[in-house]
C-alpha cells in the first residue's frame, strides 16, 4: 500500500517535470515547422543579408538585420546604463553598507524588476522622452534611446543582485589579505573582489542582456515600431519582439507568408537568447570552483 502511494507520487512529480520539458520541445517544434515553410519561400541568404524588413508592404523585403540592429541598439543602451549602476550598487551594498541597510535595500531594489513593463513603457514615452528632448531637440518622439534607458533601469536589479551574491561569496580571507596589505576598501573591491567574482558578474550581465533582448512592452510603446537599419538612437526603430507583437495584433491571415514571418523572427530571437544562456551556463561551470 505504502509502496503504491510512493509510486503514484513519484509519477506525478515526474509528470510535472515533464511538462516544462515538453513545453520547450513544443515551442521549438512550432517555431521550426512554421519557419521552415517561411524559409521555403524566402532564402536564408536574403533573410540574413537584406537590409530591409517590409513584409507587410507591397514591395516585400525579408531582411532580419534591421530588427536585430534595433534589438541590439536598445539592449546596448540598457546595458550601458545598468552595468555601471548595478555593479556600483553591488559593491556599495557588499563593502560599505551596514548590514541592516543591505537587508532593507536589496529587496527594495528587486521591486524594480516587479513593476509591470507596460508602466515602464509609458514612463519612457511620457516622461523620459520629453525630458531628453529638452537637451536633444532633434530627437524623435519615438526613439531607441529612451526605452533603452528605461530598460536599463529595469534590469539594474538583475545585475546588482546577482553581482552582490557573487561578491558576497568571495572568501573573507581574500578581503582580509587585501586590507592587511594596506589597501583601501575601494582598492580591495576593484583589485581583489571584482576579479575574484568575475564569473558571477559575467553571468549576471548575460542574464540581463537576455532579459533586455526579450523585453517587448517598453520598446513596443516607446521605440516607434519602424524597422530601420541604423545605430542612431534618436530615431524610431523596431526590435524583434516588437515586430512579433505588431503582426500578432494586426489582421494577417493565418498560414500566409506574413504570418510566417512571426516565426522566422521568433527563431532569430530564440537563437540569440539560447546562445547567451549557454554562454552564461558555460562560464558558470568553468569558473565556479576556482577560488574555493
Amino acid at each position: 500500500m505504502r509502496n503504491k502511494k510512493e509510486k503514484i507520487i513519484e509519477t506525478i512529480l515526474m509528470l510535472c517535470a515533464a511538462v516544462s520539458v515538453l513545453t520547450t520541445i513544443g515551442i521549438l517544434w512550432v517555431l521550426l515547422s512554421e519557419s521552415s515553410s517561411f524559409f521555403s519561400k524566402v532564402s536564408l541568404k536574403d533573410f540574413l543579408t537584406d537590409t530591409e524588413w517590409t513584409p507587410l508592404f507591397a514591395e516585400k523585403h525579408f531582411g532580419i538585420l534591421p530588427l536585430i540592429a534595433g534589438t541590439m541598439l536598445t539592449t546596448f543602451i540598457a546595458i550601458v546604463i545598468a552595468l555601471p549602476t548595478g555593479l556600483s550598487i553591488a559593491i556599495y551594498l557588499n563593502e560599505y553598507a551596514p548590514k541592516k541597510f543591505r537587508k532593507v535595500v536589496k529587496p527594495l531594489l528587486e521591486v524594480l524588476a516587479a513593476i509591470p513593463t507596460v508602466v515602464y513603457g509609458y514612463f519612457a514615452l511620457m516622461v523620459v522622452t520629453p525630458f531628453l528632448q529638452k537637451f536633444i531637440p532633434d530627437m524623435a518622439g519615438f526613439n531607441a534611446l529612451s526605452p533603452g534607458i528605461v530598460m536599463g533601469i529595469m534590469i539594474i536589479p538583475i545585475i546588482s543582485s546577482l553581482s552582490e551574491d557573487a561578491l558576497y561569496s568571495v572568501p573573507k580571507a581574500l578581503r582580509e589579505a587585501s586590507y592587511g596589505m594596506g589597501a583601501t576598501r575601494l582598492q580591495t573591491a576593484f583589485k581583489v573582489l571584482v576579479p575574484a567574482a568575475t564569473s558571477g558578474i559575467t553571468v549576471s550581465i548575460i542574464l540581463a542582456i537576455s532579459r533586455a533582448i526579450g523585453e517587448t512592452m517598453i520598446v513596443a510603446i516607446a521605440a516607434g515600431q519602424q524597422p530601420r537599419l541604423t545605430l542612431n538612437p534618436l530615431v524610431p526603430i523596431e526590435t524583434i519582439t516588437t515586430y512579433i507583437v505588431q503582426v500578432s495584433l494586426g489582421d494577417v491571415v493565418q498560414g500566409s507568408l506574413e504570418y510566417q514571418t512571426i516565426f522566422a523572427a521568433g527563431i532569430a530571437l530564440f537563437a540569440l537568447t539560447f546562445v547567451l544562456n549557454n554562454i552564461s551556463y558555460f562560464i558558470k561551470k568553468k569558473f565556479q570552483e576556482k577560488y574555493e
Partner: protein, 250 residues
C-alpha cells in the same frame, strides 16, 4: 623605548567584554607569542594592532595602543598607512587568485608603484627572504593557487615583506600546514627576527617555546602572565599558566 605599548586596553563587541584591561609592552626585534585557549581573546588582541577589527559592527575599544610612541587609533592616522607598517599573515594561506608575481607586488601596486625594475627587484628579494625564490623563479607568472599549502603561506609572508613593514603579526601561521612546512615557517620566523618585530598567535605550545623570546598567556580576555618564554614554560608565576602549559585544560 618599546616598539609597541598597550595601555589599559579593553574591547567590547556589543555587550561582550572581549579584552579586559590589558597592558603589554613589546621590544623591537623580538618574537612574542600569544598563547591561550580558544576564545581567550588572543586573536582579537592581535588584530587590534593593525586595526583589522575596525570593520566589525558594534566594535568598541578603550585604552591606547602606541607603536613607536604614536597612538595608532588617533584620528589623524590613516588605517591604510598603519597596515603598511604592521603587516599580517593569516591562519590559512590566502594568496590572491593572481600570479605569483602579482601576489608579491600587490602592496606596491596599490601604492601606485609602477617602475618595472623596482617591482622585479622586490619580487626577487622578498621571495629569497622566505626561501621560495629557488622553487618558483621560473614560474612567476603562474597562478599562486597552484603552489602547495606551505609554499602559499611562504608566498603570503613574502607578500607582507614586500611592503617593508616593521612589525609582522602572525595569526596561527602554521596551523593549517604539514609538519615539514610548519618547521620551515618556524625557521623563517627566527631569521626574520633580525629585521622585524614579530608577534605570533599559536595554539601549539612547542612552537611557542621554540620560536619566541617572550610569551603572553591570555585567558578569558585577560592577560594572565607575560614574561620571558623560558620562564613562562619552566616556572610560571601563576597557577593558571602552569595548568594551561601542562595541558590540564585548554
Amino acid at each position: 623605548m618599546a616598539k609597541l605599548d598597550a595601555e589599559k586596553v579593553n574591547v567590547y563587541y556589543g555587550d561582550h567584554h572581549i579584552i579586559k584591561d590589558v597592558n603589554l609592552s613589546i621590544q623591537e626585534n623580538t618574537v612574542t607569542a600569544f598563547i591561550g585557549p580558544s576564545g581567550c581573546g588572543k586573536s582579537t588582541f592581535l588584530r587590534l594592532l593593525n586595526r583589522m577589527n575596525d570593520y566589525i559592527e558594534n566594535f568598541k575599544k578603550t585604552g591606547d595602543i602606541l607603536i613607536d610612541g604614536g597612538d595608532i587609533y588617533d584620528k589623524k592616522v590613516r588605517v591604510e598607512d598603519l597596515r603598511k607598517r604592521v603587516g599580517m599573515v593569516f591562519q590559512k594561506p590566502n594568496p590572491f587568485p593572481k600570479s605569483i608575481y602579482e601576489n608579491v607586488v600587490y602592496g606596491l601596486r596599490i601604492q601606485g608603484i609602477k617602475d618595472k625594475s623596482k617591482l622585479d627587484a622586490v619580487v626577487e628579494n622578498s621571495l629569497k627572504k622566505v626561501a621560495l625564490w629557488g622553487e618558483v623563479k621560473d614560474k612567476l607568472q603562474q597562478s599562486a593557487l597552484a603552489l602547495s599549502g606551505g609554499q602559499q603561506q611562504r608566498l603570503c609572508i613574502a607578500r607582507t615583506l614586500a611592503v617593508e613593514p616593521t612589525i609582522i603579526l602572525m595569526d596561527e601561521p602554521a596551523s593549517a600546514l604539514d609538519p615539514i612546512s610548519s618547521a620551515k615557517i618556524e625557521d623563517l620566523i627566527s631569521e626574520l627576527k633580525e629585521n622585524f618585530t614579530i608577534i605570533i598567535v599559536t595554539h601549539n605550545m612547542q612552537q611557542a617555546s621554540r620560536v619566541s623570546d617572550k610569551t603572553a598567556f591570555f585567558y578569558l580576555g585577560e592577560l594572565v602572565e607575560f614574561g620571558d618564554t623560558d620562564q613562562i614554560f619552566t616556572k610560571p608565576v601563576k597557577e593558571l599558566t602552569q595548568n594551561y602549559i601542562t595541558g590540564r585544560f585548554g
